[in-house]
Homo-oligomer: 256 residues x 2
């Protein structure tokens, strides 16, 4: 799925608030004729966008997947789109079975942020040392304790490991645009936005590569940069081992 997170209070259902999960559940429950629970690959915060979110649900309605995709897209608001619907193994779980996720964060550096991009980039029209940011970004690759980049309200959850593996972490300098891409086994709440805020501090000269390294494995009270705004962040893709997404269509026809 893709969504423009601007108008939503994030992925997760919250009573009385518009959320992606809430709208999907409403539409699928209408199609099924009884409550349907939708599980996502993970939550996205209020205002964060997605180009490759993955969700799963159980229904008994024998509607073929392609027809379900078309029906859901007709019922969804234009700022949420479903690219693909397919049958999976019965035990497929979009969160537990995910082996990697990729996020992108986009920073517009020019004096002027185009009106058409204003919801989809963080506009930072001040000097940034992109080369220093790229070096600091690379430091995050590997398996580390990311406590310093956890959300404030997550930091005191003792006993829950903050160890995560980052497969790649790279900053691309496209002139007026900086794109930061991070692929990892899993992410703590606010982790990517806290990393991006810290990289911006590096770009401003307030922190260097060594300062970034010292945050890894450090106590939660070490100072990471401020959390970067939601609008620049996109969940790009979620990866699964081939087996868990095997369609059941070959052995169990989707329509009765």
């Amino acid at each position: 799925m893709a969504y423009d997170g601007t108008a939503y209070h994030g992925w997760q259902v919250q009573p009385g608030l518009a959320t992606i999960q809430g709208i999907l559940e409403e539409i699928l429950s209408g199609i099924e004729g009884k409550p349907v629970h939708v599980m996502g690959s993970g939550r996205t915060d209020a205002g964060v966008h997605a180009l490759g979110q993955v969700a799963a649900f159980d229904i008994t309605n024998p509607i073929p997947p392609d027809n379900l995709r078309r029906a859901v897209n007709r019922l969804l608001p234009e700022d949420i789109r479903v690219f693909d619907v397919r049958e999976t193994a019965l035990d497929f779980h979009p969160r537990y079975h995910a082996v990697a996720k990729t996020y992108e964060y986009r920073v517009a550096r020019g004096e002027i942020c185009l009106p058409f991009e204003r919801r989809y980039v963080h506009h930072h029209p001040y000097p940034l040392d992109a080369a220093a940011m790229a070096l600091a970004a690379r430091c995050l690759e590997g398996t580390h304790d990311f406590s310093a980049f956890a959300a404030a309200d997550d930091r005191d959850e003792l006993g829950l490991s903050k160890m995560r593996t980052v497969f790649s972490s790279a900053l691309f300098d496209q002139g007026d645009r900086l794109v930061y891409r991070i692929r990892g086994s899993g992410f703590l709440k606010h982790m990517v936005r806290n990393i991006m805020g810290t990289l911006i501090e590096v770009g401003k000269g307030n922190l260097d590569e060594l300062g970034m390294l010292s945050l890894l494995g450090s106590d939660w009270n070490r100072k990471a940069g401020p959390r970067a705004p939601a609008r620049g962040l996109f969940l790009m893709s979620v990866e699964y081992p081939p087996a868990s997404t095997l369609s059941r269509a070959g052995t169990l026809p989707s329509s009765g």
Copy 2:
């Protein structure tokens, strides 16, 4: 200037409605301390976007152009941006001195329209013969009577010539995206959207190249296609002869 036309009732001031001209006049009047009239290169309809609109105004405030640009951008909403402010000859008129304008119209053809593009393309997820559309688009080049493509409420304005010169008219097939670009000496109200609606009829097989040719110079009651939606249309640029935009800064300092 660039603007996202989604939230506006077009360029032109209308009492009680948000318009681009209205917001600019309000901001510039505040800076000048008395009413300032802003002239545009032409009106854009409600919902139409711009990447290269040009406007002019007279002020006596000696603020240097670069500072004025920054001040105006700070005061404008994020969906309107001013790229450049410069002094011109005293008699410069953004409409009368314009020698060419370029518009682009964007059609998204795939089943899914990305949420991030939904305000900036016309989504047409049905088959279109892009090659036939490209041939028909070329027919419009040259000097013709465009009455058949005028707005309905403009068609009975007798005595006003509907002759216009189109320098280039081309459709580009980019796969999931069709881009139509037209550059001309001037355009009638709704002309580009009526042309685009007619090209879509060609793409659907309801009209061919000869049908398009027969509309040129024809009576207003010949059937052009329905007007295409505003959201796909962008005013890309307005061109002036070099002399009319010569800065006076060389001979008459802008400040004090």
